[in-house]
Symmetry: C3
Amino acid sequence: MHGSGDVEITRVIGIEEAGEGDLTFISNKKYFPYLKTTRASAVILAPEIQPPSMPTLRTPNPYLAFARAIEFFYRPPEPEPGIHPSAIIHPEASVGEGVRAGANAVIQRGARIGAGVVLYPNCTIYPHAQIGDGTVIHSNAVVREYVRIGMRCVIQNGAIIGGDGFGFAPAGDGTYHKIIQSGIVVLEDDVEIGANTTIDRATVGETRVRAGAKIDNLVQIGHGCEVGENSVLAAQVGLAGSTSIGKNVILAGQVGAAGHLHIGDNARATAQSGIPASVDAGATVSGYPAIDNTLWRKASVLFPRLPEMQKRIRELEKLIEELKTMLQEK
Amino acid sequence: MHGSGDVEITRVIGIEEAGEGDLTFISNKKYFPYLKTTRASAVILAPEIQPPSMPTLRTPNPYLAFARAIEFFYRPPEPEPGIHPSAIIHPEASVGEGVRAGANAVIQRGARIGAGVVLYPNCTIYPHAQIGDGTVIHSNAVVREYVRIGMRCVIQNGAIIGGDGFGFAPAGDGTYHKIIQSGIVVLEDDVEIGANTTIDRATVGETRVRAGAKIDNLVQIGHGCEVGENSVLAAQVGLAGSTSIGKNVILAGQVGAAGHLHIGDNARATAQSGIPASVDAGATVSGYPAIDNTLWRKASVLFPRLPEMQKRIRELEKLIEELKTMLQEK
Amino acid sequence: MHGSGDVEITRVIGIEEAGEGDLTFISNKKYFPYLKTTRASAVILAPEIQPPSMPTLRTPNPYLAFARAIEFFYRPPEPEPGIHPSAIIHPEASVGEGVRAGANAVIQRGARIGAGVVLYPNCTIYPHAQIGDGTVIHSNAVVREYVRIGMRCVIQNGAIIGGDGFGFAPAGDGTYHKIIQSGIVVLEDDVEIGANTTIDRATVGETRVRAGAKIDNLVQIGHGCEVGENSVLAAQVGLAGSTSIGKNVILAGQVGAAGHLHIGDNARATAQSGIPASVDAGATVSGYPAIDNTLWRKASVLFPRLPEMQKRIRELEKLIEELKTMLQEK
């Protein structure tokens, strides 16, 4: 703590909007200039930054402190307690203690819902799915048959966990024969799945998202994929079938990865990269097809200069022709 | 009007399919050649086009006239009047005059639904959401807690307005701490949101889509973004968090924009562009990473000629070696 | 058959996971090396591959044989028979023999549901939609007004068939006038539509997906498009309006195609291609903008060598300057 502890805080907000009574934070250096002009009453900062005149909370992890401050000031509305009378729960389903199920939620035959699970209105649990203690399933999400979801997961609205994988065998006459997708999806503990994301069940075996992985909206995870512990997939990422992703990997928005490849632990891919082949642990890749990020940056800077490069080649050809003539004339 | 006014029109249709009794239009010049062969009974054209022999309605805005003609011939089925007995409306929700709510629609505690709103079957309104007069929410769309939607908006099926933003603070041990998304989404008046599009609530403050903006299907709008008045986002566009888009911007299909940047008024991005940094008002950008469109076109034409360029460089190197030898021998 | 027919098979599984009692298969040559190490009890192989020592079923189409083997060992849970009491069926809808409708499924006025159709819980059928015999509609999918779906189709969860096309006429003052989307969507027989995919209704006329086409998750098909027989669109593909795709076309993941163009029969586009113009029948295209695949591969290999190419041009310029000086001095 630096500065007066007397200031009254009523809200937590971003630095651009902050005014009197607001607590704000900076972790992205893009926002340093705002430190001089903000009217916030207090700010959370990393220790290496020169504290401004206002009251300052300095911490090695300003973003985490900011997260905790938000929790202090805001709680989302509590879901209604108990099972809403319009929820449809199959008599052969099992429902744990303290489960809350909203209006028109549907739990089908043989499903097992752990203690303290929250099912928001209009979500649908297929037969024999299992949902671990404390998990939250938002409205209009779907959990398909035999899928297993761990504890403390959050499934945002409209996410589809366990839809059929995209598997069709060419029948030989141009038509396709649907391959029954007999496998499942397993989400381990503490996984978050974004709105309208789709995670396909495996053809055989399982599609698995390991503990702590965070997956954003509108992501596609094909059948038989594996996403490693604490890996992060940003919005609109697509993984073709049987792709495996290591631990602590970060794929930025709209990245696509071909099937049957491996992305090593701690690897990163920048936005819109198209990954055609396996990526080494710790590598950062970019581009289409994806290559080493440093190389890609250098080449990308030159791409707009292709017309100039072509012109220089043409001039060299002319010059050399002239030189040749001069030389022959001597 | 040009030509006979006696012709009977029974349908409005595209020029390729048009036959006797059909009214058609041309605004895209790709379709000019069809003017000579169409069997349509009448056509809507811009004044600068030479009218064909058939009856012609000439107007400076043929596309708008076509839109009005469709309205004359077709009305979608009226939603059922009143509140369906299976709809679940929380006693503490407020529902305006003339609201229609379809089967199994769910309106939760504290939500406020304006006059004349249409809620199609199976849509879900979370606690304390507000929906302005005359707005239409299609089946399986979700409006999350505290979200505010303006008047005369259209929310297509499966759209998720106000799902949690993708915010996680690294806890230091590889795992992530979920940051409660305490902000809201505001859609101003006359906004349209496409099917299965996701618009995330802000971490703090708001995500805002300004009046008249039109957003297509499967678009991702991250937490804290702002989309300006009358801007148009085509299908599968993705905006990372805290991106702000000016007025009358057009982003074509599958464009991605990184976070914390600004796209100026009237800017355009062609399909699949990847926008890494702010874009000036009025600019047109393309490519990955996105650059000026004219430059991009010139460079793109040369990309397939890279093998030839490399060959020419190699030949130049050989020639210069020869010249050098010749010169030294003289 | 090759080897002992006595071995007992209890499961079908991928070659990496296979153990005793498992039947597996190889069709992708990436997996040939596993043949030597697998502990599977039997394997399905193409006739041209040298059979291993284990029992082997050889067939010209191992993938199809594998599909049939899965059907032998696994059946998804049967949907509950009959109409669930909570399903809402409009008295003016028609429902064929043997239809199963799950909890909270909604069938609106004038819809016609063919014999043996399965409607999973929480799906919504709009007025006057028609669904052919034997089609399966998964939970939270939506079929909009007047849409026509053929026989034996599968609509995965959350798919939206017939949402409004993205059509707005500029009103001249910066705002847009919504064009009523008066057309329909037609899905012919044996079509599969993936989870959260959106297929827009036409402005006028129809959007059509022809018999046997297979469309993966999160795909966007714009208004007025046509997808030909047995064509395959992988996840996150986007087609702008009025694009027509021939027969047996394959578009890989995240491909985008601009509007008003034609992709010929048997054409292919590799992942993330951006298709700006029509593609010839039988062609394979790649890149952004998409060009011939062979050319694209050659050019792509050189893209990372742009810095080196530029350096070589600079050196050539220096060398030629030196030669010129030498020559002038002679």
